[in-house]
Structures are given as C-alpha cells and as structure tokens.
Symmetry: C2
Subunit: 418 residues, 2 copies
C-alpha cells in the first residue's frame, strides 16, 4: 500500500537519524567530531549521491519532503536552544574585558577579511555577506571536548577561549540576524543600511534576551511545581518555540530567538531536568538538520573545469585559518603575554561547526548563494572542523607534561582507563 506523506517522512527521518548516529559513532572512534559524521550521512544519502539510487518500486526511499524539512528546521532551532542552555545571561555579563575584546576581534576580523575577499572574487554583496557570516561563528563545543580529552580544560588559555567564544557566538548570531533581514527584505546593501540593520538587530535581540530572561524563568519555576508528568518540559518547549517564532516575527532569525530562550531557561531551577530533556528531544531532530545540510551538498561541484573555483576554495580555507589566528590569536597573545598560548587560542577558535552550517543552510534555501558557493562553504567548514582539534593536540603534545600536572587544579575530573 503506498505510504502517506507523513509516513514517507517518518521513513526518511528514521533512516537519516539512524545512519547519522552510526556514522557519528564511527567518526567518534577515529577521533573526528561526530557532527561531521552526521553531515557525511547526509551527503551520502542525499539526492546528489545514493539518495536517488535507493528505491522501492521506483520511488526513492529517502524523500526530503516538507515534513522532513520541518524536522530539520526544528533541529536547527533546538541546537541553538541547547547551546543557550549552557550559558546564562549572568555568565555573559561576567565575561572579562580581555575575553570580550578577543571575542569581538574574532568576529570583526574574519567578517571583514571574508567580505573583502569575496568582493575581490566578484561575488554579489549578498553572497559575500553569507560567506563572511559563515566565517565568523566559532563552534567551541568541538574544541572544548578536545580540551577536556587532553585534560587542559582548566588552563588559562582554555578559559579565555570559552569566554571569548561566548561573545563570538552572540555577535555571530547578531550578524546572522542581519543576513536574514537582508535576504528577506532585499534592502539595498550600502554602509548606512548595514549599520542601521546591525544596530536594529542588536537592539531587538537585546530586548528579546532581557524580556525572555525576566519572564521565562518565572514560568518554568511555576510549572516545575506541577504534579502531572513532563509539565516543566512542555513549558520549556513552549518557551523555545515561542521565542523562535517571536524572533522571526520581529524580523530576526528564529534560531536567534531559540538561543535567547535557552539562555533564559538556564537561570531557572529546573535547568538540569530541561537540559536532559532538550538533549533527548534533539536526538530526533538535530541529526536531520545536519543530514539535510549534507544532502544539499553536491560533490560534483568539486569536479569542475573552472579553475577559479579551486582557487576560491583554497583561498577561502586560508582566510578561515588566518582570520582567526589574527582575530583571536594576536589579541590573546597580547593579553596572556605569551605567543604560544595566543596561538593555541587562535587554533582553538578556528572550528566553524554548526553555526556556520546554519548560516549556509539558511542562505541556500533562500536562494542567496549558488550551489558552488555552498559547496565551498561546506568544504571550508569541514576542514576547519577536522584540523584544529588535531593541530591543538599536537601543539600540546610538544609541551612537557609536568607543566600540566602542576597547573591542574585539584578538582579536576579523574579519567578512568576505558
């Protein structure tokens, strides 16, 4: 019997989630961030690869219909909600001035370098904005996992990185908000307009964060006293989805709203319960997001006789590396008074990861960038996600381990042999 739209979507979600997790698991074993495994699952199962080949009775098994796309979109929202849960508004205000400056230059330098580079290559102003926004966002989660594995998460440079990444995230998301405004309103891009929209987006975002952090914890604390099961979880879901929709309504990106809701929820009493819940819920949505990001990637874009594509791609990766070394590494070396540690901060903040993918995903589905620009961004994100952890590990391996032992605070989590 032919399956209904929903059931075809369910089959696709079930295949995407399962294979994303299996590949994530395999990548994890060879020490590559599992998010890249999920992305690879999407590339392999997408319409440009095996997705069009695997069929039952002539119809493809994997069908990226509107319900699957809705799952992916909700996945993006939940990823940022979970990221927001890790950070309170108080944390954000407590970031030291040095981290604040490192985070800011770490956004401004890649953005300007990326924008200039793309304009030189003759990309449209819109596409240049997208590429430079994708260059901005640091995925500190991957780096912090590596630092934890190396038992260096309590070092001064690692704390600097994490604090700076907080600022980086917030500013990066503000830029995303601007990009979305440009794509959707098709305003003319001139310096005055850009400044206006940046200020407007930042102001709106701040209003959203402040009002969410006043209102949401009260709702959560109230519902956490309830007796029937999962009421507080339902309230958290409602906050996340509500803030996402509100953000979209006032012209920002929905994921920016979800991040604000996450930050707001994180200062409520029920944070542990909600964090556990949000991670579980993400299991079914986030892999779909990454898989869809992968599915939109056409490997054939890399097989072209247009030599300029290769030049563009290689230089883009170069800009991605250099801009974070300059934007984060230089100021860090100045503040920490240590070139070596500065370099480590630069390397550590290089991973682009999920936020970059979200920027590129929003842009390609809005038609703001071409297939080949999308392919170049994805390739850049993959390289900047795989290499820095390896590089960071090498640079720590060179240091004498004694130094580490001395510097470790006593409350470090012990590790057990596996």
């Amino acid at each position: 019997m032919p399956l209904s739209l929903v059931l075809r979507a369910i089959v696709t979600v079930c295949i995407l989630v399962f294979s994303a997790k299996i590949l994530g698991e395999l990548f994890c074993k060879i020490k590559i961030p599992s998010v890249l495994g999920e992305l690879t699952a999407g590339i392999l199962l997408g319409p440009y690869a095996f997705g069009s080949i695997i069929t039952i009775g002539g119809t493809p098994v994997i069908e990226l219909n509107e319900i699957v796309r809705a799952f992916g979109e909700i996945g993006g929202i939940l990823i940022l909600f979970v990221a927001g849960l890790e950070m309170t508004f108080t944390d954000f205000r407590r970031v030291g001035s040095s981290s604040f400056i490192i985070g800011t230059t770490g956004v401004v330098v890649p953005f300007l370098m990326g924008y200039g580079f793309c304009m030189l290559f003759g990309l449209s102003a819109g596409a240049s904005l997208v590429v430079s926004a994708a260059l901005v966002a640091t995925s500190i989660s991957i780096t912090s996992l590596v630092l934890q594995e190396l038992k260096r998460s309590k070092t001064v440079e690692s704390k600097t990185m994490v604090s700076a990444a907080v600022v980086d995230d917030v500013l990066g998301l503000a830029i995303l908000g601007v990009i979305v405004s440009f794509i959707s309103t098709s305003a003319t891009i001139n310096p005055f307009n850009v400044c206006l929209i940046v200020m407007e987006s930042l102001a709106l975002w701040l209003v959203l964060v402040v009002s969410a952090s006043l209102l949401v914890p009260k709702i959560i604390n109230l519902t956490s006293r309830g007796k029937s099961e999962e009421t507080v979880e339902a309230a958290a879901t409602a906050s996340c989805f509500g803030a996402a929709a509100l953000a979209a309504y006032i012209g920002l990106s929905p994921i920016v709203g979800a991040f604000a809701a996450g930050m707001a929820v994180s200062s409520s009493n029920a944070i542990e319960k909600i964090r556990d819940y949000a991670k579980k819920i993400s299991t079914i949505f986030s892999p779909v997001f990454f898989a869809l990001a992968g599915a939109a990637f056409n490997i054939r874009s890399f097989i072209t006789d247009d030599i300029w594509f290769y030049v563009f791609f290689i230089l883009l990766v170069g800009v991605a590396f250099v801009s974070k070394i300059v934007g984060c590494g230089l100021p860090a070396a100045y503040f920490l008074k240590d070139k070596n540690k500065g370099l480590k901060v630069g390397i550590g903040m290089m991973s682009r990861g999920e936020v970059g993918l979200i920027v590129a995903g929003v842009a390609i589905s809005a038609g703001a960038i071409s297939q080949s620009t999308y392919a170049a961004i994805l390739g850049m994100i993959m390289i900047t996600t795989v290499l820095p952890p390896i590089w960071l590990k090498r640079s720590y391996d060179k240091e004498p381990p004694e130094e580490l032992e001395e510097k470790d605070p006593p409350d470090m989590i012990p590790t057990y042999p596996l």
Copy 2:
C-alpha cells in the same frame, strides 16, 4: 514579517502542548485523568471553538496545517510505542488462560453488541465497524493509575484486569488493523471478507511482532555499547518509525507497528533508558495528538433538533457500560468465584481512553464516519474515562480496609503522605 509554514506550525504546537499540559495538570488536581485535560484543550482551541477567534492581524494564531497534523500522527505512533514498551512478548505469552478468556470476551462482546446496535440504528456498515472498534479498546493505564492510588494494584482482581487488558489491547489493535484495511481498500463488507481480513491482519501482525522481537533487541543491544551520545535512543526511534512504516506498507495501521516495536524493544538491555527517552519525546508529540482529536470535535453536534442523535448517544454510552460488564465482569466473576470482584473487573476495564480516540481519529480523517457519529464516540469515550475510576473508588471504599491489609503481599510499594 509573515511567518513561514514551519514557524506557524511551531507556534501552534507550542500553544497546544503548553495548554494541554496546563489543563492536564488542572484535571489531575481534581482527580480526572490528565488525558481528558489534553483533549479539552484541543476542543477549546480547535476551529469549532476559540481557535477561529484568536487572531493576530486577521490570521488565526492556531493553524492546524499539515506539519501540525504530522506531529499529531507521530504522537499517536509514539503513544502506542510507549504502551508497547510496558509489555514484553514473554509477558504476553505468560498471560493465564482465565485472563486470556476474559480479554477475548471483553473484545468480542462489545464489538458484536456495538455492531448490532449501530446497524439497528441504520448506520452504514463502515461506520458501524468504527463505532464497535472504538467500543473495544480498554485503556488500562488510567485504571491501573487509580488502582495504584487506592493501593489495590496487587489484589487478585487487579492482576486479572491488567493481564486481560494485555489481550484486549492486542486484539483491539488487530481489529483496528482490519478497520484500516476496510477503509483504505473499500472491500465489500460481508462475513466472509471480514473473516478473511481478520485472519490476514492477525497473521501479518504476528509475523511483525515475532520478527521485530527477534531483530530489534539485537540492534538495540549492539548500539547500546556505543560511545557517542544518544545512539541507542536513535536506534529505538528508528525501530519505532521503521516498524510503523512497515506496518502501513503491508496494509496494517502504523500504530500497530509501533506497538510491536515497543514490545520488541522492551526485552532489550537498554529498556530503562529508552522508556525514559520515549516518554520525553512523547511530551512534544502526544499532546498534539490529543489536542487534534479534541479539535475535530464540534460541540454544536450536541445541539441539534434531531432527537435520535440524543437517543443514539445515550444508548451508545449504555452499550459501552453494559458490554464491558457482560464481556469482562461475567467471566471474571466465574473465574474468581466472586460476584463482587467480577463487577470490579468489569468496571476497571470500562475506560476507553487513547486507543478509542485513535480509532475515531483515523476514521474521521478518512471520512469513514460523520461529524455527529464522531461527536457521539468522543462523548462516550469521555464519559467512560471519567466515571469508572470514581465508581471503582466507591466500590472499594465500601469494603473494610482490614481485608486489604491482610491480602497485600509484603513487597508492596509504601506510599508517603503528600
């Protein structure tokens, strides 16, 4: 800025989930099963009530679009998956012969009484099948919660009820499979066809259950050894969705497949983890299912000058009560050699709850029953869900509490004052 389809769906889901939970919580406080609160939220927010009134800028805030419907459909699948998780295939085989007979008569009697009653009232054969299928399914979850509250869950009649309800559930779902076959293939309804499809559905379902219980636990046990987060949860989701789609593919109802997957998963090692996960995931989907069931209910169907509607409704409720007393209570009184206990079994198995709602929901969306038949079924389900717990409590209150103390096995869970 106007919201996209997905964001409008998210707003609706967020409102439905939150208000369903709030009403569920309120109903819980006045000792009415919370599922009825979720249903009421749907009735109140549906298009026949306030749903069409609450608007922003002329467009209704609550929009039951295809993505919201997909959430509801997935909710139905997850409800049955969670129900299946509570029951292993071994449990099912271990049910005693007396419970097996009580469960079977408890399905056959309501089905035949309901079918005869509807045909007498001039309903079509298809609609009669739907009504009688809705009369069959026992929602033991509500009764077992009440029994736990009354501290009677270890009594002989309560064990009989639960075991019989297992049989009842399985047969009820098989009947649902048959109904779906009839609705979708529009086969002529004659005794021979009915028998053929019943046998075919039962056989297919058994094949599905047996193959799932051989294959799924192996996959789950394999993935539960994984290192990256939530791999086993992803495998459980894939089993649930995969089995649902497979069931639909071979012509059964998808929820029957989800139930089989749940039963299969329940004999794996990771059952506790998966049970917790499945309940969390359901938080976001199940209330949408109940709310949509409520939203399809038009209260105006009850305001009619057609006196026969009222007669039909009252007699339907009567059939619902009598058929379970006769179908379950009589054989129970015979096996337990106690009229009083038999009556309690009959009362306890009266609640129709979620499975009845699923039958009615599938039927109305397929156009197999009229608005007024749907309203009558929903009214019947609400009454049979609210009254039996109260009735059961009264009948236990009459008994001397000493008897309870003596009969309780020593391993009873102690309860603390609230």
